[in-house]
Amino acid sequence: MTAPVLLSVEDVAVDLPTPRGNLRAVDHVDLEVAAGRTLGIVGESGCGKTMLSRAILQLLPKRAKLAGRVLFDGQDLLRLGSSALRKLRARSLAVVFQDPMTSLNPVLTIGTQLIETLMEHLVIDLAAARARSIALLAEVGIPAPEQRLMQYPHELSGGMRQRVALAIALSCEPKLLIADEPTTALDVTIQAQILDLLAREQRRRHMAMILITHDLGIVAGRTDEVAVMYAGRVVERAPTQALFKSMRMPYTQALLAAIPKLDAPPHAPLPAISGRPPDPTRPLEGCSFSPRCRYAAARCQREKPVLREAEEAEHHYACFNPLKITAGLSA
């Protein structure tokens, strides 16, 4: 069952200099994504998941400092020259951002934004690019695709815009698609549609995918593996089913409990996680989650736990007091 590893993130750290001090956005993260598989990255806002995706894509702000290795198809993206990197984009590595209203250029037509990608990376003429754009729009479920080519992003609804963003991302048949909170900016009713669309396209194209979200409920059933991030670190990583069946991290359990459930009794209080994530410019000595953790012990405040493998293979967690019980949620 082991597919070849497509993306390997090794000991990646991202530091941002700020007026208040150095901000460690990503703290020594190791991840792997195999070809054709989906990895979900889950965490609260500010846990570093977006910075991690930007690090992988080499789209960090200029002042950011990046350490570690990002191996894609054997090449270290951090050492790659800019023109080689540019050739990789869209053809191998594609991305869908969170808010399609800001990620699509408001003064260019949808057709322009689709066609320019195709013409940059594929050997193709304008007419063929146009035809292919129409086909792509149809594939992502946009009605009347020919008309859409001449329209501007603000003329479409939020869900449609995200579909367009997806069409752009898929246009050159990338090997890996990074979807950074693809549904957060959309209506709840549209969210499921977009997620299903993503899953369908991924299966069809045998694409690897990284699905970044703050909602643990989204990754259930849509991903092969899940990595939970907190304060810039990966605190738990496991195949999806295993994670939901036998989660080890108190944080993961708290995340799960915070999801509203349909079958909960009405007016049942939603257990929120008390406290706030730590200030990233002032990292804690011990475990970053300990101030908010129910099971925190003295050791948790002194030492930083590292990721270690559990009894089950491929299930990693970083905790001194892992949960013994299995949570009873079927994925």
Partner: protein, 316 residues
């Protein structure tokens, strides 16, 4: 879109009326009896009174204003007492010079300012950026007449490359005409480029931080395409505004340059009318210049809608 246009037009009318009123008041209420000025040595109380009556100067001011306004609306701006020309004739004679000066000056300003702005925005904060921004700031502190003197000294006095003053119509001698326009256009262009550069640079720096630029990079597009197609267009709104306003301002506002370089433009016409107390020309020409400025601003407002399709469709 039509509603947008109509609302703008409605605002225009009172502004134009107020402009005409202010022009008239300035020309009329100022001390200096016109009749005396015209008659000169031949002024006697009887002749003055007669001339005043002829010219309608003994009427109350609001009556005179309405009369003038009435003539205006028929297209009659009046005739100069001195030269006998109608205002329209005098202005249309001078207009090509002012327009040519304005176009050349603005073009120079854009040719210098736009590329510099793009280069600075692409590497914001770098050494080149700081140098250019500093130079632009310094340039803004150089008055027009100062750069005029400097340029004349350099090119006319020292290098004898270009003439210091003079004019030849374009139709007669295009090459000679352009020779006469180089220094004046350059003077104005040097005054224009700093604002153009700062405005475009500022907007582009803001645009380059937008998500859609990050996505354009993620798509692997060429950096030049990202700069010129993705970033330039959304950043050009303020630039278009500034350029439009400059064009409007320069038509009557290049007084210093026209005086220093002896170019027979509208600015010079108005200054001449002030000297010779030619009130009719003064009123008419100033009105045209001010109204023209208002009209140009209106057009620039309309251009907004063209450049930003969001405004066109009512979303902002």
């Amino acid at each position: 879109m039509l509603g947008f246009l109509a609302r703008r037009l409605v605002y225009l009318v009172p502004v134009l009326l107020a402009v005409s009123l202010l022009t008239f008041l300035i020309a009329s209420l100022l001390p200096g009896d016109l009749a005396y000025v015209i008659l000169g040595d031949q002024a006697t109380p009887e002749k003055v009174a007669a001339l005043r009556h002829d010219m309608g100067l003994d009427q109350p001011i609001w009556w005179r204003y309405l009369g003038w306004l009435g003539h205006l609306l028929e297209g009659d701006l009046g005739r100069s007492f001195r030269t006998g020309q109608t205002v329209l004739q005098a202005v249309t004679e001078r207009l090509p010079v002012s327009i040519e000066l304005m176009l050349l000056a603005e073009t120079i300003g854009l040719l210098i300012g736009v590329p510099l702005a793009i280069m600075c925005a692409a590497r914001a904060g770098g050494a080149f950026d700081r140098f250019v921004t500093g130079t632009a700031f310094g340039m803004l502190s150089v008055p027009t007449f100062l750069s005029a003197i400097l340029l004349i000294y350099l090119f006319a006095v020292q290098l004898h490359l270009l003439p210091a003053t003079g004019y030849v119509p374009l139709a007669e001698d295009p090459f000679g005409n352009l020779r006469f326009f180089v220094l004046p256009a350059l003077t104005l262009g040097l005054a224009e480029w700093p604002t153009i550069m700062r405005v475009l640079r500022s907007d582009m720096i803001a645009t380059l931080q937008e998500d859609y630029i990050a996505l354009a990079r993620a798509k692997g597009l060429k950096p030049s395409r990202i700069l010129f197609v993705h970033a330039l267009k959304p950043s050009s709104l303020t630039l278009v505004t500034v350029t439009g306003i400059n064009i409007g301002r320069l038509i009557g506002g290049a007084v210093i340059v026209e005086q220093v370089f002896a170019l027979p433009g509208i600015g010079r016409l108005i200054v001449g009318a002030i000297y010779t107390r030619d009130l009719v020309i003064l009123q008419g020409a100033v009105l045209l210049v001010a109204a023209g400025f208002v009209a140009v601003n209106f057009i620039v407002d309309m251009l907004y809608a063209v450049l930003d399709p969001r405004i066109r469709h009512g979303h902002a």
